[in-house]
Amino acid sequence: MTHHDRATGTCGCQDQPALVFDEQGDLVEDVSVLGPPPTTIPHAPLPSLGLRRPCTAARLNGSWLLQVRPLVPAFPMSEVRGPMRIEVGPSSLRISGDVYVRRSGVIGPVVTHPIGVPVRAGGDHVFDDDRDEDFDQELGEDRGGVLFPPLRWYPQLPKNEYSWYFRSTGVTWSGGELSFSFVRHLWDRTTQDFVSTDTGRMTLRCHQPLLEPIFRPATMQGTATIGRRRYALTATKTSTFYRGCRVEVDAMTGRAWPASATTAGGVTSTFRNIYASAGWDTPTTLDEVDVPDDASLTNAELQTLISTHQGSATADQWRLWLLVGSAQGTTFGVMFDQDAVPREGAVGFADATLSDSPIIEAGARNRPLDEVPAAFLRTLVHEAGHAFNLFHPKHDVHVPGVGTEIMNQTGDVMGFATAANPYPGNATFAFSSHDRTSLIHSPDPQVRPGWKGFGWGHGSLSAGLPEPTDAEGLVAQDDAADLTLELRLPDEVFVGQYVTAEVVLTNTGDEAREVSSRLNLSEGDLRLLHALPGGDVEQVRDVVLACGPPQSTVLQPGESITSHVQVFFTSEGVTFDVPGRHLVRAEFDALGWAAVRSQRVAVQVRMAGTEEERGVAAVTLDPGVGAAFALGDFGRDEAVKAGLATVAEAHPESDTGGAAALVLANSLARTHQDYRTGETRAASATEAKHFMDLAAQGRTALELVTLATTVPSPIEREAPVVADALARARRARKPKADLALAEERAADFVAPSGR
């Protein structure tokens, strides 16, 4: 041993043989079976180290901020960075990380601003029971009037910058050089899921001075090959833990938080030291101790309590709210938070009572959990585990096996208790190996409270090896700030029904914004992401795709642009042709690198039920008719014309019949040249008027013009149907206000502007 390693408390050793770890991160004892270590990326010989030496393996252990930069700067500049976790065990070395990307949009060096904040407990009730001796020191306290930088923090970045996750598939550690291959899982920000994988390699060199300045974090430099490109790497150590999450505890009046408990073997356990054993830093603050009493809590009441009692935090901070509550039947606890921002709250029920069974410790029988700290602490740690997306082992798809560790249900732990080894003494106050690995290495979307729903991530992430992409992953845009996109679709349609969508882009900021005005499915800026009932995801665009110059408009604060698009027949064919629940999300490239996404909208699709509906579907499901709806023209296909006329004449009051009439009115108002045959379709003003009259029946001016704007291809802004519909409405002497709105709608079809 040559040197004491301040960061790890271990001794550094030099001249150690290379250590090789396999795909699972386990040490390979007999390296010869593997052949020679993989050739790492060539790099220049290390400069003379002077008073420097290779780091110890133990120094690697913990959380790092990984920054990735192209070796050759390229526009647009991006910040590619995120947490990297290196888990060094007695005979294992595993690495994983989550990378977040933000386009900086500037030429020049990317400035990495401080990310995250040190995890520390605040308030007046910080528990001291398990505080590290050097906790205050590590947090960067004001010592002697000098504010030192924080030495324990966790890169916690915006969810909308998430780009990829990686995990090592083989590691070599030798002479201060860490080299590993990894598999990368690429994240799609629209579907909020991993969609593909590829592979890469990173090499990092870690050396430390013989005399190390106090409070200076360890760093590593190196290179990476990602998607066949090379990058420079910098890693900065942020903690000896792997992840951190603040925990705020509120207690109902008269109930006590089990700050510590004496568990099997006389060991003192706390919430924090149990999580610390799994590599998580969970500073816990008892914030309120007088939440108003309520003898029985429903889940709706729990949702109200979290919304009214949880303290504030920054949007990117990982945090969890725990309630020491009263009761809900005989339940011990529940992770109740399953709303749109899930897994941020859990409760333990202090009044729930242990039975008088002989498998319960004598002193705990018939006692409420509140009076049995070990049992209550176990339940609270267990419920927090659910908030970090851990499952009951008996239903975990990885089948880790039922036992006595934390994530087993209390009932199952009791199943292993006996009179000689009663509960809670028989409980293991630690996470199983499977759960510990999940806590340390699972992707951020899985474990971070407030991200993916409970139960996500317990299957295979994805399969296959697609074409490599670069270090930015699948990121094409950043999320646009101060813009919202709203998508409106009918709740329910039958297969064969004409369907339109309303898309509204709104400037919610305080300043005017220039945005693309190509709010349609033809010109590439707008896309619909369509999840079918079976789970397949398709991208919906118009059947006609156009390339043209960017078109923009300026939205003042509060202004919107609105468009109506037909989605009956698209690049998918008949879009809603499968019965069941469809989910659709709109995505719009607002301008430059900024994209904006709508909420998901559900559309229930059913088969045509009534005789009328079946009659309509029999016509509209013909591909030629579908194409006519998409193009706003039936061409020279007389059969399609006849079908459209049948639907228009029979059901002019429905959108399907009205749209059919408008397709005919649009087609017949102009000639049509078939360049393949040289034949021409003549215009027929009489027929066009007839079908326009049909479409106008029972519709306001706005309804008629709105439907008319969905009929022609969006790039065919001179199509007669919109102007003709407006003229028809004027002739009908519709109310002035109605006409004024219709005129705006017609004008927006040609050139959308903010309103």
Partner: protein, 252 residues
């Protein structure tokens, strides 16, 4: 393993605007008494119900939240059975995404290390073509409505959907469960009376026990009210009473 047999009973055909509740029976067909978990409900995770259809992966019916609770055991004498129920509503829209034929099977863990399974049962889910019925079906697919029914408390913006399900013309089980969420215990008896008249005592007991497992909510007033109604109905079937009490009975 021990002579325990699990059976599942489900209606052959249920419209999609109705809440589907299945009844499960754990019976000791052996010659010796058997100690078993008595947590025969979805909430506590010893019971699982799986729904499958041709050409798709089977989906596990879930309780919307992970729950921690103590072990409860019962010793079943030979011929005795325990009866429980499960509400198949979550994950909303994934269990029964479309009309058609489904296969439903139950599994149960009498002890942490053992499992028994039922024989699959076929259930046909049929579409409702009436507009009101379709609106009710959509309400049943709203996760907040599902959470409200399972927790018997109004979650988020579920009130409108619950009112729709509880309104006139609603399917009886969904109507009863929605009414149970939104009404006081004092007013519940009339709703239970109506539901018993419409669908029978066993279905009503199964529906209420599926969201208020008697072992998890012992002494709950709503279970007591239902038990009174069932006793008054004098159907002669011990199943309804057993569902509401959670007690083991002799298999008829």
């Amino acid at each position: 393993m021990t002579g325990l047999t699990l059976t599942l009973e489900a209606p052959a055909e249920v419209p999609l605007d109705e809440a589907l509740v299945v009844v499960v029976r754990l019976r000791n067909d052996g010659a010796e008494p058997v100690a078993t978990s008595s947590r025969l409900d979805l909430a506590e995770d010893d019971l699982s119900v799986w729904v499958g259809r041709e050409g798709a992966d089977r989906v596990r019916a879930e309780w919307p939240w992970p729950v921690d609770s103590a072990r409860r055991e019962v010793t079943l004498a030979p011929g005795e059975e325990l009866v429980g129920s499960a509400l198949l509503l979550a994950p909303a829209a994934r269990l029964f995404p479309q009309p058609g034929d489904y296969s439903v099977v139950a599994t149960f863990a009498p002890r942490p290390d053992t499992e028994v399974a039922s024989v699959p049962v076929a259930v046909r889910r049929v579409e409702a073509f009436d507009e009101a019925a379709r609106a009710r079906r959509r309400a049943l697919e709203d996760p907040e409505v599902v959470q409200s029914i399972c927790s018997l408390s109004v979650m988020g913006t579920a009130a409108e959907g619950l009112d729709l399900l509880a309104g006139p013309g609603g399917a009886p089980v969904a109507r009863l469960l929605s009414t149970t969420v939104t009404t006081t215990t004092a007013d519940l008896r009339a709703a239970i009376d109506d539901a018993v008249a419409a669908t029978g005592a066993v279905t009503v007991a199964a529906a209420l026990a599926s969201v208020l497992p008697p072992g998890l909510f012992p002494g709950d007033e709503r279970l007591a009210v239902a038990a009174d109604v069932v006793a008054d109905a004098d159907s002669g079937d011990a199943t309804a009473a057993a569902l509401l009490s959670g007690a083991a009975t002799i298999h008829g």
